[in-house]
Amino acid sequence: MLNYFNPSNTLKIINKLQKVVFALFFAVLVLGLVEALILSPEDYKQSDSVRIMYVHVPAAWISLGIFTTISALSFGILIFKNKNFSLITKSLAPSGFVFNIIALVTGSIWGKPTWGTWWAWDARITSMLLLAIFYLMFMLSWKIFEQKDKDKAIKLSSYIAIFGLINVPIVKFSVDWWSTLHQPSSVNVLKDTTIHSTMLVPLGIMTAAFALFSLLIFLMKYNTELLKIKNKGLDRL
């Protein structure tokens, strides 16, 4: 299983996959935008401002999902000493960070017409800001230490990701644990989903488009990291 992530095997697959994922992403995004901006109904309370949900919620979900994946793989890096995992986590971070920023900015824009303020130190917003800081620290640890001491960069970034994992359930359950401006989640896996299907469908399509975009960025970044290794390999031939 671990050999599946071997750079030698994946390079060819990645090159082919990139084009397919880009085409799929573009098609799903266009469909999602039409659904989100034109076909989906307005909300009886929030009117058309509810459409911000179609970019805000998928961005928040994916940034949280990516960070959880990075943290889980970081355990793998420290326990199994698998260096391919560190390439994967490093390649996942940029898209996770950008999705985190998108969630914060669009949330702020949505807050103005809904709550009357651009920003509040509400538990959900604050924990999402903390997640962005963890992403930033993770990427900075690579930026600062990669050239000087790669092993230190791998270890430090892994510790940051594992420590940041504490924040993930806080983001998820903050709306249940504390009284916040955010409403409790409307889309649930284990409980009933309270959102109407006419809004759930565009939300699902936009989430798929965002997931495909993060996959595309991951593949490109992973390819770049493999090339860096191969460039060093050419010097040693």
């Binding site: 750079p7 940029p94 900015v105 669009t106």
Partner: protein, 77 residues
Amino acid sequence: MIYEILNMNGYGVYVWSSFVFTLVSFSILYSVIKIQLNKELKVFENKFKNLEAEKAEIAKKQNTYKGILVKTSISKI
């Protein structure tokens, strides 16, 4: 019809700015990663061209280098 879509019951500024910010962020991230990828491909191409003939032949036979060479102008030579 178009005015209704743009205005969105007075929420147009908020809705459109959210979507535009998202799409601009996507474009910037894609461009930055694409530039990094092309830069590394360029470095590889230059290094490969400067390799001694014997070493170049060894590299060409290795699967990992074959995958990269397909993406560079070296494969067309």
